[in-house]
Structure formats: structure tokens, C-alpha cells
Amino acid sequence: MPKSAPVQARHRPSLLTGYSALPGVPDELLREDGTLRPEWVSLISHLDGLSPDERDRAFARGAQYLRDAGVFVRHYGEEKSPRDWPLSPIPVIQPAREWQALGEGLAERAELLETIVADLYGENRLVEEGHLPAGLIASNPEWLRPLIGVKPASGHFLHFLAFEIGRGADGGWWVLGDRTQAPSGAGYALENRVASVRAFPGYYSGSNVERLAGFFRSFRDGLNAMRREEGSRAGILTPGPMNDTYFEHAYIARYLGMMLLEGDDLVVDDGRLMVRTVSGPKPISVLWRRMDAAWSDPLELEASSRLGTPGLLGAVRSQGVTMINALGAGVLESRAFLAFLPRLSEVLHGKPLAIPNIATWWCGGETERAHVRANADAMLIGPANSTRLPLEFEPGAVLRGDMSGIGLDLETWLEKEGRNLVGQELVSLSTTPTWEDGGLKPKPMRIRVFMARTRDGWQLMPGGFARLAATSQDPSAVSLRSGGTVADVWVVSDKPVSEDTMLSHTDEVFVRTSPGLLPSRAADNLFWLGRYVERAEGQMRLTRAYMSRLPETPAGGTPLMSRLEIYLDDHGLDIAEGVPATLERTIAMAVNAANQVRDRFSVDAWASLADLERTVGNMRKTVIPGDDAASAMGVLLRKITGFSGLVHENMYRFSGWRFLTIGRSLERAIAMADLLAAFAEWSGPHGGFELCVEVGDSVMTHRRRYPVAASRDTVVDLLALDPLNPRSIAFHIDEIRDQVSLLPGADVNGQLSQLSRAVLRVQADLSVNTPQSLDQTRLVELRQAIGLLTNDLHAQFLE
């Protein structure tokens, strides 16, 4: 359908009724004469052909995808309630020809930046010759002195860049700011793409929209090619789940098939960077860092950092690791550079910037100061070394000459503080359509574009991450934080484009690669995820057992109910609550553990866990003790088994899955030993045996296997000793033993590890028991012995 769409719309689509560009700025959708730009024709006629209902459903599909995938915006300081991702359903469309020219211009800019940063960490000739003010560099907090004179192992400082660009009044692109440290957003661009494909499924597949996968594949191949040592790896370094772009780090790690690492996962040994894995330390020689340099090494940089790796700079200094981008590359992000780049381009490249940047004046020079003073009405004046997004207001800045926040008049301020200030011209940016109140509305926009150094040189991602202003035309309002929206960017070719995915090309030789290393921290989180999910399930079953008996319990109670109340209380479960707070906490801990290893889960598994957490939260507000609570537990049990099912059906059977499974089995075996010790006693309250069978989810099995009513012998046999019952202690001890024997280091030079020996001992002790000999004392001992396995596991793999 899109291919047959006319290049020139014969008549104006009804969708455009009421849409008109704002005066004085270009519009991405319409030309100055009001006609549709050719690259938009096909999408607009597609949308025009949909009924309002179909259109709403299409847009809703995109939004639904992002919610399901758990894409959200989290800000530092906002522990709770991350906001939904504000995606505008209409992409920003750019013609491929123009994009290619943009790419060539930005590649020149990237080279210019590389030359400058290499000089700032090398000979410092630009400062010496007066092209850059020495004082400005000395006061730049990202000019990292411990890295002066250190040459990057790859030979380059810059490998992955982002540029904020906007279309100015003249119709050309302007660079608003350079992101050279650890630019975020490429993963969000990918997610936006998936969402927009969901919104326009039939349309997208036949469209000439250029795919993103090739860009990422080239970048990843480039990273892998930089590995120094045989067998060493490339990884992604993240500050962790509390960072506001952690979601993106996990997403991109999963997408590229790279390890997601935190500073604590890494150690430096003799100038080499190693990742601590369950198979021991393994070399890492390329690190795509999503962490600001200052936090990366507490030994030589920010001493208070808990996120970094002590000694990392030593590994960088001995060229044991290539950092993407080099530590210290953030020096170029300061706004003041925009004032010097036009001149530096002339000095270093012998020609003006191919893509200009917004006009910027450093107020340390007298002429520049005078200019800023005279034109303050049309400027943002702010800290010269600020690395905030372009034109974003901050404390200590002056917008349009409003001095109210400063306490000095403009002239005095500029004279006194000029060396630390830049003035930037407030530019008006082009508009692009978004969907509002059932129609298209123009909004000012800017785009973050991404550039990667590949083996074939700098490559511009054919797409990007667009930010649209909320309402006003003031470009300083174009910020996600002030409530705007984001949009996908489509680069549309004249010709059909090839389908592309991250999977290898067919002309590459197929090699089954090893499934990757498991960092110890990830193993730890998987182990605890297994335990918490199982613990939550146990708490649900116990709560249900109590709540379902409550309505028929006579006033004054029964011995069984009294015993159960004590048992629940021992486990922190409050019987006065329909849905106990402890259960909600257990689930929150499971979510927290899962969040630390988010790169290892499918979107579906994550969505199902998030759904469980949401449901528990909602139920806590309404569910009351009794039948209501019992049926609520039923709902939660179905949901939690859904999550377990997704994990166990789909997760690759390698080390990570084994730790998850060991955690689950350990928790289940402990809980069962606990339960039997409390309720499967000869002298226990009436109904205790049935309770064990019910909480052990083995009612059907019991009925089938034993033609008699539950007795101590049948219950202990089925729930403790029967190796075929997936609820029995024996089953899970066998499972733990199997999994442990398959983990790395199960035996050391032919001798069993301490963990293997401990598991074997528990297994042997259990197997010689009969239902009669496995009395309460033995059950309590067994429970303790199983619990102690955690320590052995920890000592062998997780420290």
C-alpha cells in the first residue's frame, strides 16, 4: 500500500485541515507554501485512510507496548512511581538524502572534537597557542588531571557521540550541544521504534523507513574488534538501577548481547581489568561506559563514589582497557566549547563548520562581553562550564536579561564573572506534528542523533530521539522534564530498504558462541530472585490456607487455627490484613533483584512480574480477611506461576538459570521442612496433615497415591521423601545437587568443592530416613542444614 501511494497528494488529506505552521519557523510536515513535504505523503495518506477508531487503536498499541515493556522515565530523587514514557505517536520524518548530508557534516564535527580532546589530554597546543583560554580549561570539572598524558588503548578518545540538533529559521540544521561523555538515548530511540512499528504494523513493513539494526551491528562489531587479549570481552558499564537511564542500559545490553556490568563487578589485577564471574575473574578489554567518568574510580577520581572500580585508571593508563568514550572526554560537553568550535574548525580543518552550532559567546573576552551585554534580551547567559542540555535554564543563569535571580546588574555581573559565563542566542526551532485532541498540532522540536565510530568510519544512526515541546514555542521549554513528549525519527529513502535485524548476515559463517559469562553479582541477584519468588508463593499459600478456613471457624477458634495464627505470625504475616504487608515486601524484593539483572529477562517475564507487583499494591487497598482474601491469593498464585512459567520455559539453561533454580529449590525445601515440623506431628492439632498437603499443593497427588486419609506417614512420605513429587524436600535437594554439579568449579582437581560436599551430605542424610525416623527434631536439623548451603554457595561463587 505505501509503495503505491502517490508521491504528490492529488488533494489535501483531511487530516491536514486545521494544521498550519507557526509563523517565522519552518515546519517539518509542510513547506512554506502549505503543501505537504514528499517524505510525509505516504504516512499521512495511510493515517488519512484509517477511521478515527482504527487510528486511536493504532496509537494505543504503541503506548501499550511501552507500558508492557516497562519503559519509563525515572528521575533521581523519585524512588516511587516512575512516569509513563510520553511518546508522541507521529514520527518525525526526514528524507534520506538530507540525512546523509547531515551525517557527513557531523562526521567532520566528530573528527574535530577528537582532535581537540586528544590535544587537551596530550600536548595542549591549542591552549598554548591561545585558541582556547587556559583558565576555562583549568576550571572545567571534566578535564581530569589524572588522565593527562594517558593515550587511549584504541588510539581514539571518541567512539560514540550524540548531538542535539534543531532546524533553525533558515531551514538548516544547527548543533545545539555535543554529548561526548556517555550519551544516553540510543536505547530509547530503539524502544520508540519498536513502539511505532506496533502502531503501524502493516504500513511499516512495506515502507521505505531505514532500519536501525545495521547501525548497532556495526558499532558492536567495532567494539568487539577493539578487544586486545584473546578471549577477553566487551561489556557495558552502568551506574546501576538507581540511575535514571538504567532501563536503557539493560535494554541495550540485551539488544547487543553484551554483559551489563556495575563497578563492583570489576577488579583490576596487574593492569588488567577483570570481571568477577561465577567461573572466576575473566578479562574485559572494552568497556562501553554509561557512567560519568568522575564516578568510575574512587581511588583517583571522586573519592566518595560507591559506583566505581578502584584502580580502573591504572588499567586505562597501562592500556589494558579501551573506554568508550575515553575517561575525560566529557570535557568537550561544556557549553563554552561552542564559542570556540567555529574558529577551531578554521584552524584545524581549514574550513568553517559544515553544520554550524548555536551562536555562543564566552564572556571572558571584552568584545564578546560587550556583544552579550547588548543582546542579552535574546540570550541565555549561564555557567560556561555547564554540561546541561542546550538552552536549559539552571540556577545562576539569566534568561532574556532577567537579573532577578542574581542580585547584581547585568554589567557588573558580566565584568565580575565573565570568565565563567557564556551567552547563547535563543534560537527558534522548527515544528513537527503531534497528535492532540483528535488532530495534528505543530510543536517545536529538536532531535538527539547518534554517531558511532565503526570500522568504516563515523556512521550516523538513521533515526534518532526527538523531543517535542509541551505547548509553548520557547525552545528552552523543550525538555522532557518540563512535560514535553518524545517521538521516533524516520529516515525515509526514495528506494525500498532492506529488512535488517541484529541477527548475523547469511554470508557470515555460523558459529555457536559460548553463552557468555555470568558476573557474580548477577548470579547473586538471580539466586535471590528465585528465593523471593518462591517465598512469595509460599506466603500466598499459607495466607490462603488460613483465610479460606476463617469463615467456618467457630467463635473461640480451633486448635489448628490457633496454631496457624502463631505460624503466620512467626513468618511476619499479619492475619488482620487481607493481603499481608510482608507479602507485598517480599514481592518488592523479588522485583528489586530482577531489576538488577533486567538485561537477562524477556519483556514478557518482566511485564508479568511488574503486573504482580501492581496487583498486590491494588489489592492491599481493598481486600479484607476471609473469603475475599482467599480468592485474592488465588489470583496472585496464578499470576506468580505465570512469571515462573515464563522464566522456566524460556530461559536458556546456563549458569544464570541454574542460580535461579537453586534459589527456588532451596527456599521451597526450607519452607517444606518448616511446615512439616510445625504441622505434621503425631500430637499436632487436628487437620494439620491436610493443611500440609494443601499448602504443599499436593492434594491431587495424595489422593491418587494413598487410598487412605492423610496420616503422618503419608504426608511426610509425599512431602519430604518422595523424589518424584516436585513439592517434596527430596525432589529439591536432588535438583540442587544436579544444578550444583553443573556449575563451574563443582569439583576442584577431581575433588568435590565444599558446596558439592555439603549438598551431598544433606542428600544422603535425607535418603536414609523413613517417615517414622524423620521426626520433628530431624526436620528442624534438616531445615538448618539446607539453610547453611546458602553460605557455601556464597563463599564459592558470589563473593
Binding site: 583560554p133 587556559a134 583549568a138 588531571r145 577488579v267 581511588l299 583517583e300 578502584p310
Partner: protein, 293 residues
């Protein structure tokens, strides 16, 4: 003067600490025309798995060490013989304060001793309004930089009470100033903040102080541990001068320089954390004895 210097630093950990990695700034520098390191050694017990000597950005000597095995105690022992032949008082008339900014604008050098590193805020020397106000009332603008250094340092010495127990390594300078007490580290950071607020580049000097005074003179404060004082830049002619606000003197032949930095963070005697479950205690002893005494 010829000195024999001994420094001992002990760490005792409640639970054995593994994976420790540290940077030591303890060995005296050789500064032509001022002091010369004749011999020096640092012994570390237990022996670290990795040990490397190098220079940092500011030209200081540092020792980087790493331990792989867990240890419950680490003992660092430095011995050095140093000849001190001069101090760091202003050798000539320095520029007037109003002319300093122009001199700094003309600087194109970003080498280790460039004054430009020492004007911006640094982790332990953040701008503070109270200290800046105090500095402004004392520094008459038509004065020479060298006089301002001496005047401000003397005033600080008079107002502050030396108290070894009142502050810790991490007490902010502003807090120590508000209470008008502290140790050499606090005196030094306060004076650095004051200098920078006036536009005078100022840095942190760590070093040693002669333990016992020459006969008939008073014992200097801060001789029991590593000492700290201020270096300040007084224009291109005079360059750097060093003032010890704890003792209200320009650094002389009783002062032995170990390292220069923007503040304590750059030159801490021992930098780097231990991975340990329990607490730790540490102590430091310093002995600086003139040879032949």
C-alpha cells in the same frame, strides 16, 4: 638543615580487609634550591601484591599498592633523609591584588605549577560566603598579594583555636571556620577558600614539620602527624609563596614538602578504601629530627 624523617601509619581491621588498593603520598620531594631528598624508603607489612611508584599530575611522588589477600593489619613505615636549604617566603615585592587577574588571563600554561589549577573550587575547598566576607574585610584591595597572604594568615591564626579533637578529616572547612577551631588541615582549607575568593590562586601543601624546636624557640603545632600549609600565587614575578596559618609563619627550613595539590583530596597521605565488614582504627606517628643533634 639535614633531617631524618620517620613516618609510621598502622591500620587495624576488626574483620580482615580484602582487595585493598591505596595511593600513598608520603615521600618528600626534591625541589631545586629548597630541599633535596637524599635517601628514602617505604616498607609495607604485609608486602602488597602490587606496588608501583610514579608521579601524579602535580609532579608529586606517589606509591600505589594493592593487596589481594585479606589482612587484619597493615603497617606502613617511611624513612627519609632530606636536606633543606631554603623556604618559600616572598622573595620580592609582589603585584597588587587588582593586577593579578590580568596576569592570570595572560597565562597559557597548564603544566603542573600553573596557577590556573588553583583558582576554581575543589572538593575540600568549596566557596563559602562567610569565609569570603571575612577575607574581604581583611584584604585592602590596594595591597600587594604577598602582604595579603601574610595578613590573612596571621588573622586566621589569631582567630582560630588549634584543637586536635574538634574536627575530623571530613569536617567541612566552613564548619570549622564557623566554630573557629580545628587542625592544620582546617586552617589550610579555610585560608585556601579565602584566597581564592579574592582571586588569589591557592593550594594545599602536605609535608612534615621539625618535631622539636631549636633551643630557645617554641615547639610548632602539628608536628606529631603529617602537617599542611598553604601555597599562594602572587603574580608572575614572585610566583608561589607558602604560608603556614597554623603557626603564622612562611614555610621555612622547619617545613619539608611532600606534595602539592588543590586540596587534601589530591595529596592525602593514604587514599583508597578497604573492603571490610567491620570497622577500622588507624594511627600515625611522625618523627623529624635534625641530623647531628
Amino acid at each position: 638543615m639535614l633531617y631524618d624523617i620517620k613516618l609510621g601509619i598502622n591500620y587495624i581491621f576488626q574483620a580482615p580487609a580484602a582487595g585493598a588498593r591505596q595511593i600513598l603520598h608520603a615521600m618528600p620531594l626534591t625541589i631545586p634550591g629548597r630541599q633535596r631528598l637524599i635517601a628514602g624508603s617505604i616498607d609495607i607489612d604485609p608486602a602488597p601484591a602490587m606496588r608501583r611508584e610514579r608521579q601524579d599530575f602535580f609532579g608529586n611522588r606517589l606509591t600505589e599498592i594493592a593487596f589481594t589477600e585479606p589482612h587484619s593489619k597493615i603497617v606502613i613505615a617511611l624513612k627519609a633523609r632530606v636536606e633543606v636549604t631554603g623556604g618559600a617566603e616572598p622573595a620580592a615585592a609582589s603585584v597588587d591584588l587588582p593586577d593579578l587577574a590580568g596576569a592570570l588571563d595572560a597565562e597559557r600554561d597548564l603544566g603542573p605549577r600553573s596557577p590556573l589549577h588553583f583558582l576554581p573550587a575543589s572538593p575540600y575547598a568549596r566557596p563559602d560566603a562567610a569565609i569570603a566576607d571575612w577575607a574581604r574585610t581583611l584584604a585592602r584591595p590596594d595591597r600587594q598579594c604577598g602582604d595579603i597572604v601574610a595578613g590573612l594568615g596571621l588573622a586566621l591564626h589569631r582567630e582560630m583555636r588549634f584543637d586536635a579533637d574538634a574536627t575530623t578529616v571530613d569536617t567541612p572547612a566552613a564548619e570549622a571556620f564557623a566554630a573557629r577551631h580545628g587542625v592544620c588541615q582546617d586552617f589550610t582549607h579555610i585560608m585556601i577558600i579565602a584566597m581564592r575568593s579574592l582571586g588569589i590562586p591557592a593550594g594545599y601543601v602536605s609535608g612534615y614539620l621539625r618535631t622539636l624546636p631549636p633551643p630557645g624557640q617554641e615547639r610548632l603545632e602539628g608536628a606529631d602527624a603529617m602537617h599542611a600549609w598553604v601555597s599562594a600565587w602572587c603574580g608572575p614575578g614572585v610566583g608561589w609563596v607558602e604560608y603556614d596559618p597554623t603557626n603564622a609563619v612562611f614555610a621555612g627550613t622547619d617545613h619539608i614538602v611532600v606534595a602539592y595539590g588543590r586540596d587534601y583530596a589530591d595529596v592525602a597521605p593514604v587514599r583508597g578504601a578497604m573492603r571490610t565488614a567491620g570497622g577500622q582504627t588507624s594511627n600515625q606517628s611522625v618523627d623529624v629530627v635534625p641530623v647531628g643533634d
